[in-house]
């Protein structure tokens, strides 16, 4: 699972609705893999407003990924920024491990890069 997707997922257990706790999900036992991908600046620039930057920074720090604190004024023309963003959100894959909710402690397992976000019966 790439970090761009993780940046868009929150905990959805019944009654777990504190937005500060349910997002972002905290990684536990994350096994990372860097996989080179074709850089797509049009996509990166278009997605910047849809990312939750604060959450992305929290996650990046957690995993030891380099990411600038601030989004530049003119990201389209900032090659260094786009490269760092591309590497962080599109080339960093979490292959195994789990994502834990800071609110209710539910663990969503990740297997072969695919997160399982099905809820148990008491959480629906």
């Amino acid at each position: 699972m790439r970090l761009i997707t993780h940046n868009m997922l929150k905990c959805h257990v019944k009654n777990c609705d504190n937005p500060d706790k349910q997002f972002p999900l905290r990684f536990k036992g994350a096994e990372l893999e860097q996989v080179e991908a074709e850089r797509n600046d049009e996509f990166l620039v278009r997605m910047i407003p849809r990312l939750d930057w604060r959450a992305l920074l929290v996650t990046a720090k957690e995993l030891g990924i380099e990411l600038p604190e601030n989004i530049p004024e003119d990201p389209e023309n900032d090659d260094a920024f786009l490269q760092a963003l591309h590497t962080a959100i599109l080339e960093t894959h979490v292959k195994e491990g789990s994502m834990v909710c800071n609110g209710c402690n539910h663990e969503y397992k990740i297997t072969k890069g695919i997160p399982n976000m099905l809820l148990a019966e008491h959480e629906i």
Binding site: M1, R2, I4, T5, M8, L9, K10, C11, H12, F23, A37, E38, N40, E42, F43, V45, R46, M47, R50, D52, L90, T111, K112, G113, I114, P115, N116, M117, L118, L119, A120, E121, H122, E123, I124
Partner: protein, 432 residues
């Protein structure tokens, strides 16, 4: 504006004009035509476009268009055609010394080789002096005799200026895929849906019933980045489906050169999804389960969930924490599947984004009122693929304004796709 002839493929007739319109917007090429001149049983439509370059650009991605032809003449007889062509003699001069080729076709009839040669010779008044090239000719001329039930031909003549992308159908043929399943959508329609969604570079496209991932592939082929989810992880991982041990959706990515653009897949119930609030996607492209081949289900239990069942201890471990725990599912009736899909689209699409999905309907009972509505989604296209007693319709909707606190319109009557699964297995006998 100059006239061109759109040469359509003669199938999926209901889908042809919507694709043309979608491409016109996507490629930013203005195309004008009289909708009343569109004939379902004809592969030809005369349109006006500002230039040959724009015409070629318009059709380059088209799945239901063979080619686009600069209009030189048409008529009931060759004499009529020659007369029209002779009106613009300055145009021939452009091709006097070019290498050229004549393609002679007939629709609704077969022409012998001799007849075709006679047709070509009939155009010798053009007095082209350049060499004939069967491949890579600088100018390709197209003649077609179109026959309908009256047996009276209509003859079309012009210069080919652009071709569509029907060659992609073979490349994406499901039989060639490393991984597929019994609900995998055929290549032609999967590609068409990508055009309806206007999938292009920079876009982020989501399929909430991703199955074996056909739409992730075709939308990514056209440049979009894609994500998919499904309640059934086995379809995604490839532990169920026709080809096991192949690593599921991932197996197809390298084959189609889209590894960088198929971003992720995840396992969850679309109706109870974990996306954070707000618009995230430029398009949602999907084929929801009708409950026929793939049982439509959602998380839950018939009669209500029983928390004690997942919380109780089994050999000292809470049931839900055991490795073989699988949460219960309940049937998910078709009209609710669609209703929830519209809610999902209304909330998670950016303004201007499109929802493209299949709606199964019962022939003879369907009325346009059956197409679900939503205050922020505008109906753009509705194309029918008939199967006799039932049909499915490719619905395209566009989000026209932000979602505030609008409520979905509650239908007054049961739509013809209500309880579709039961109707299907009861051979669509009328409901009391």
């Amino acid at each position: 504006m100059p006239k061109f002839i759109v040469y359509f493929a003669q199938l999926h007739e209901d889908f042809r004009l919507p694709e043309l319109d979608a491409l016109s917007k996507l490629e930013n090429v203005r195309v004008e035509y009289d909708p009343r001149s569109y004939i379902r049983s004809s592969p030809f439509l005369v349109v006006e476009i500002s230039s040959s370059e724009q015409a070629a650009k318009l059709v380059r991605r088209a799945i239901l268009i063979r080619s686009i032809i600069e209009y030189w003449g048409s008529g009931r007889t060759y004499s009529d055609v020659y007369a029209e062509v002779k009106h613009e003699q300055e145009r021939w001069a452009l091709y006097k010394t070019s290498s050229f080729k004549f393609t002679v076709d007939a629709f609704g009839k077969s022409l012998t080789q001799e007849e075709k040669v006679r047709v070509i010779n009939g155009f010798s008044f053009l007095e082209f002096t350049g060499p004939i090239r069967m491949r890579n000719a600088q100018a390709e001329f197209f003649v077609c005799e179109e026959y309908d039930e009256t047996r009276e031909p209509k003859i079309w003549f012009g210069r080919v200026v652009g071709t569509g992308s029907r060659d992609l159908i073979d490349r994406f043929d499901v039989k060639k895929r490393k991984y597929l399943g019994n609900t995998t959508m055929d290549a032609e329609l999967s590609l068409l849906m990508a055009n309806q969604a206007q999938a292009q570079n920079g876009m982020f496209v989501y399929d909430p019933f991703v199955g074996t991932g056909s739409f992730l592939l075709t939308c990514a082929h056209f440049g979009a980045c894609t994500v998919g989810s499904d309640i059934d992880g086995r379809q995604i991982r490839g532990t169920a489906g026709f080809k096991r041990g192949v690593d599921g959706i991932r197996a197809n990515l390298a084959q189609y050169n889209v590894e960088s653009r198929v971003i992720d897949t995840a396992v969850f119930d679309a109706s109870r999804n974990p996306w954070r609030p707000g618009p995230l996607f430029d398009a949602i492209v999907t084929d929801p389960p009708y409950g026929v081949r793939a049982g439509a289900k959602r998380q839950g239990r018939v009669g209500g969930t029983k928390s004690e069942l997942s919380l109780r201890l089994v050999d000292g471990t809470p049931n839900h924490a055991r490795t073989d725990y699988y949460p219960p599912t309940e049937p998910y009736e078709m009209s609710f599947v669609i209703r929830d899909l519209l809610h999902l689209a209304a909330e998670k699409l950016v303004v201007g984004g499109r929802l493209v999905y299949w709606l199964p309907t019962v022939a003879g009972e369907y009325t346009p009122h059956d197409v679900p509505e939503h205050p922020v989604l505008q109906l753009v296209a509705n194309s029918e693929q008939p199967f006799g007693s039932w049909s499915r319709r490719l619905i395209t909707m566009e989000k026209i304004k932000p979602l505030d606190s609008h409520e979905a319109v509650v239908p007054e009557r049961d739509p013809a796709h209500k309880n579709f699964r039961d109707r299907y297995f009861n051979k669509f006998e009328p409901v009391a």
